[in-house]
């Protein structure tokens, strides 16, 4: 599927490595918290807009700042890793999108922006995302996270069926 880099890491090993990584992050001598990503978005927006005194910014300053550093690391990690594996490629329209939705740049930009908006707005309403709720919450057998995961995946598949219908 348009992959031009070296052979990818098998899902089984990646899943085990991700489990070990999250267990390490949970350790009281390490970060004493779970993996999370979505709080960094409002936190970074708030910093850029100079809203550090807003109620929400005060509520999320701890996790927001940790997640911002974490995502900076993720950006560096994937940049280096994709250079080494020769996966790095400046590209606006992914192959699978092109197959179903065509090659219009404006169309991909519109849906990517709207999708990103809904994704993060939903994550803020639910107080978590794939990392914080589904992965970290699932590992803790948290009821809020299991319900979020089930609702999100069902809605994801229904939307996919409607939106990518040929």
């Amino acid at each position: 599927m348009g992959e031009n880099g070296s052979k990818p890491l098998l899902w089984l090993w990646a899943g085990i490595l991700l489990a070990i990584l999250n267990t390490l992050i949970f350790n009281i001598n390490m970060s004493d918290r779970p993996i999370g990503a979505s709080t960094a978005f409002p936190y970074f927006s708030g910093l850029l807009a100079g809203l550090t005194d807003a109620d929400y910014m005060k509520d999320i300053v701890r996790s927001g700042s940790w997640e911002l550093y974490f995502l900076c690391g993720a950006l560096i990690g994937s940049f280096l890793s994709s250079l080494i594996s020769r996966d790095f490629k400046i590209q606006l329209i992914p192959e699978r999108w092109r197959d179903v939705k065509g090659g219009s740049a404006a169309k991909r930009v519109f849906w990517a922006f709207l999708g990103g908006f809904l994704l993060l707005f939903g994550a803020r309403l639910a107080d978590g995302c794939t990392s914080g709720h589904i992965l970290s919450g699932g590992m803790q057998l948290a009821v809020s996270s299991l319900v979020f995961g089930a609702v999100a995946i069902i809605t994801f598949l229904i939307t996919g069926k409607v939106f990518y219908r040929r």
């Binding site: 899902w11 990646a14 899943g15 085990i16 489990a19 990584l21 267990t23 390490l24 949970f26 350790n27 009281i28 970060s31 993996i35 990503a37 978005f41 809203l51 700042s65 940790w66 997640e67 550093y69 974490f70 690391g73 950006l75 990690g77 994937s78 940049f79 280096l80 890793s81 994709s82 594996s85 699978r96 990517a112 922006f113 990103g116 809904l118 994704l119 993060l120 939903g122 309403l125 639910a126 107080d127 995302c129 992965l135 919450g137 699932g138 590992m139 803790q140 057998l141 948290a142 009821v143 809020s144 299991l146 979020f148 609702v151 995946i153 069902i154 809605t155 069926k161 939106f163 990518y164």
Partner: protein
Amino acid sequence: MAKAVIFGMLFGWILQRSRVNTFNKIGGFAMLKDFTVLKLLLTAIGVGSVLLFTEIQLGLASLHVKPFNLTGVLLGGIVFGIGMAILGYCPGTLIVSIGEGAVDALVGTLGGLAAGLIYIFLYPEMKPLLGPDLGKINLYAGGAVTSGIIVLLFGGILVVAAAYIDKRVKR
């Protein structure tokens, strides 16, 4: 904070090398054409639940369960699922994909930052609407032994489900 950056680098490396950060894999899952993301998530949660429970029993970690705000979790899950299907990334994988050159992931991130900004403004009005708060509950029950059995069953079912999907669906 150096630790957070290093953990982030490992996170970015694992996702990038397994390719589950890409639109081709996440959008492919929405199209029911690729199940790598589902298999990886089931494995990570299943194995992680057993590792974390062991770590907690050894006194080396504590739970960080998120509160169950009924309206927020249900409504948020729906909006999140719709967004993830049309975007083809989730919040963490957006950033990982920018790292390997995906420009649409950068656009999605801008959409996410806009949502974050608006949420900061709406928060005082939204906060009371997210409840009722059913508490920070999880499925551990009784003592360490009962909880341990529940965790082993939970983790085992998820890992077996991942293996089953892999055997039945070769893509």
